[in-house]
């Protein structure tokens, strides 16, 4: 097996004001998978993301990239950040330029690419997020969801191997969430490792391949979404209840309404299963 | 029957930039009930709330309070805003003071109350939201959920008859949502009319007595939560799917797993019903 593309090893972080961000936090990211970083507010999700991108430096423990300990040299940071893109939660705190295409060009230009290459990347990134027609618009004329997509384009234009997103679904309504999830799926299908933080276990269960559970500044459990969400004690320790789809499925299997087998990933999928059941007319009880 | 405490009658609102906020929007609030204002982003929820508090003035139609048309005089606005409190979505945009108790005293001081009365109200409001011990803390040291409660205390200290909340659950994780919903229930039990906006139909269905559904700047339907959520066509027009608990209940009744009857209000309640079913050992199919 390849070494993980990114890894935190027993990382601790103490903020300058003395508050503890992380302690003894370990987690790994494998190439091309979709990860959810699940935890309550204040569990340390944002701090983890900032460590993975080299914005924060561990007080103890280490960050490893491709199996190598990361050295925090200037060149190393540039290389790390060009491979690991981070999208922050609030667009108004990360967009510098008022013009969409200018802002997206910021990252690629910093990588030292020539103008033609940058132009091509900006166009491709705006295409990917569905904002090609808005290249010449002013950021302040866009909706919240569009601004969020400009932020993502700004990171995609750097063509990262790993994309980190801090609470990307916050403030988006259901159709916008579906759209964004589809975009992230596309990226993952192209081999980009995606890690997003969320406090919504139903979303994490529905979307992620693997889940890292954070509580009190530690990653208390990691694993495939299905296996992990079945561990009620772990979820409880993180202040989460089991995903609705999983809990319902378990009850319905117990009652003999549904055959045993892998649980559907969402309540909608469960509803579909029940409807199919009805048409087949078989009640196993 | 008493006249509704607040009412919008065929209200239209056009923003100065020409964009339409509302058109032909009518809805009523009866004393002491819990209302959800349900709709997608951009459906006009925030605009409705700002009309109910007199922050915006209808381009056409009128706002009625206790059955009287509202006159937008200076004195009228003061009276309206002291009776109808509005909590905005983002705590950082509505907390201005360094200390918690100072911020909560902002409204009562503006009402022109004397210092003792203000002190008493601040203490009572902080009690109500469970932050009494935090009165002297700095606002910026609080967690997101605590800030949200300070915002609510700031409005409660004005002792409003009607409490309006814009997307109060946004950004809160599940335990914090449960806590806030309990607080709102307490207020409603004391006779305060509560109206909150949300795009989460599962939450609206679980919590509200009555639901107003917004779509395209209009209130397209109003009614008791259960009756309203059964109208799939109305929900569809508002870009909503039926609440999961309701849909699941209907399927399970159809399959004969559960007896016909009123649907449980939440997936958790449904799970409880299923568990009870299992123990009684009766499968009606």
């Amino acid at each position: 097996m390849n070494p993980p593309i990114l890894e935190l090893q027993t990382v601790a972080h103490v903020y300058p004001d003395g508050s503890k961000g992380l302690h003894d936090c370990s987690l790994t990211l494998q190439r091309g998978r979709r990860y959810a970083l699940l935890g309550a507010n204040g569990a340390g999700k944002t701090t983890v993301l900032q460590h993975l991108n080299g914005l924060l430096r561990p007080t103890a423990g280490q960050l490893r990239i491709d199996g190598q300990a990361f050295d925090y040299s200037r060149a190393g940071l540039t290389a790390l950040r060009s491979r690991v893109g981070l999208v922050f939660q609030n667009p108004d705190r990360q967009l510098f330029s008022a013009l969409v295409e200018e802002d997206v060009s910021f990252g690629p230009l910093n990588l030292g690419l020539d103008a033609d290459e940058v132009r091509a990347r900006v166009a491709a990134a705006l295409d990917a997020v569905g904002l090609r027609g808005h290249a010449r618009r002013a950021v302040h004329q866009l909706s919240f969801g569009q601004k969020k997509r400009v932020c993502i384009a700004g990171v995609l234009a750097m063509q990262p191997d790993v994309l980190l997103l801090d609470e990307p679904m916050a403030g988006l309504d259901a159709p916008m969430q579906t759209e964004l999830a589809a975009l992230l799926d596309q990226l993952a299908a192209r081999g980009v490792t995606v890690l997003l933080s969320t406090h919504d276990i139903d979303f994490a269960f529905r979307w992620a391949d693997d889940i890292h559970v954070m509580a009190g500044g530690r990653c208390i459990a990691s694993g495939p979404a299905l296996a992990l969400c079945a561990q009620a004690d772990v979820l409880h320790a993180a202040g989460q209840r089991p995903p609705a789809a999983l809990a319902l499925h378990a009850e319905l299997v117990d009652l003999g309404v549904l055959p045993a087998g892998p649980a559907p990933r969402s309540v909608d999928a469960l509803l579909d299963t029940l409807r199919a059941q009805k048409h087949s007319g078989v009640i196993t009880a | 029957m008493n006249p509704p405490i607040l009412e919008l009658q065929t209200v239209a609102h056009v923003y100065p930039d020409g964009s339409k906020g509302l058109h032909d929007c009518s809805l009523t609030l009866q004393r002491g009930r819990r209302y959800a204002l349900l709709g997608a982003n951009g459906a006009g929820k925030t605009t409705v709330l700002q009309h109910l508090n007199g922050l915006l003035r209808p381009t056409a139609g009128q706002l009625r309070i206790d059955g009287q048309a509202f006159d937008y005089s200076r004195a009228g606005l003061t009276a309206l805003r002291s009776r109808v409190g509005l909590v905005f979505q983002n705590p950082d945009r509505q907390l201005f003071s360094a200390l918690v108790e100072e911020d909560v005293s902002f409204g009562p001081l503006n009402l022109g109350l004397d210092a003792d009365e203000v002190r008493a109200r601040v203490a009572a409001a902080l009690d109500a939201v469970g932050l009494r011990g935090h009165a002297r803390r700095a606002v910026h040291q609080l967690s997101f959920g605590q800030k949200k409660r300070v915002c609510i205390a700031g409005v409660l200290a004005m002792q409003p008859d009607v409490l309006l909340l814009d997307e109060p659950m946004a950004g809160l994780d599940a335990p914090m949502q449960t806590e806030l919903a309990a607080l709102l229930d307490q207020l409603a039990a004391r006779g305060v009319t509560v109206l909150l906006s949300t795009h989460d139909i599962d939450f609206a269905f679980r919590w509200a007595d009555d639901i107003h559904v917004m779509a395209g700047g209009r209130c397209i339907a109003s009614g008791p939560a259960l009756a309203l959520c059964a109208q799939a066509d109305v929900l569809h027009a508002a870009g909503q799917r039926p609440p999961a608990a309701l849909a699941l209940h209907a399927e399970l009744v159809d399959l004969g797993v559960l007896p016909a009857g009123p649907a449980p209000r939440s997936v958790d309640a449904l799970l409880d019903t299923l568990r009870a079913q299992k123990h009684s050992g009766v499968i009606t199919a």
Partner: protein, 207 residues
């Protein structure tokens, strides 16, 4: 107080630009030195300029309809030093000219001199002097902002009088005419400015 586009004769417009330029260069160099150790200062001054612009476009409660008072320049001088305020003031004045047609590009040099150089220096000086004399914070801040504003308005009156000396009596008569007629708007603005700065500083120190 802004001198409008084209109001100054060419020689005066260019002359004031030539006077302001060294101050601007000096301000930029002083910031540039700091950037080595504090890279976030670039962002800080950009955001601060936006905030100063926002405050300057504010309609103050007592002076209805009046806007584009140089609010924040005195405050900024106290926080960042008068040198850094020259570029910040330059940016604010440039934006006022381009986004609100207050002031102008041909008169930018003159306006920078009165509002981004004289104003902040006077504010800073008053603040230092007041604290040396043992004033408490509130009167010191009020005086600094208020006198900085008044100094700006007097400088502008001098600039106008130099450009348009009276036919009889020359510079001094002309100066008193400009100073007299603009006092109607500028003195209330200076007092509001002092008051607002005082409120802002009092709110800030509580955080």
């Amino acid at each position: 107080m802004h001198i409008m586009e084209g109001f100054l004769p060419p020689a005066h417009a260019l002359g004031w630009a030539a006077v302001s330029l060294p101050f601007l260069a000096w301000g930029l160099r002083s910031i540039g030195r700091d950037l080595q150790s504090h890279p976030e200062r670039r962002m800080l001054l950009g955001v601060a300029a936006a905030f100063a612009f926002l405050l300057s476009a504010l309609k103050l409660p007592s002076v209805t309809g009046s806007c584009s008072h140089p609010t924040g320049v005195g405050l900024g001088a106290a926080l960042f030093g008068p040198a850094a305020m020259v570029p910040v003031g330059f940016v604010v004045l440039m934006f006022q000219a381009l986004l609100m047609a207050h002031g102008g590009l041909t008169t930018l040099g003159a306006n920078v001199f009165s509002m981004a150089i004289v104003g902040p220096f006077v504010s800073y000086g008053v603040l230092r002097a007041a604290s040396a004399l043992g004033f408490s914070r509130s009167p010191a801040v009020f005086l600094a902002a208020c006198l900085g504003d008044l100094a700006t308005y007097i400088t502008t009156s001098i600039q106008l009088a130099l450009a348009f000396p009276a036919a009889v009596g020359g510079f001094s008569v002309s100066f008193f005419k400009f100073a007299g007629i603009f006092a109607l708007t500028q003195v209330p603005i200076a007092i509001s400015e002092g008051l607002l700065t005082l409120l802002v500083v009092n709110a800030m120190v509580r955080f």
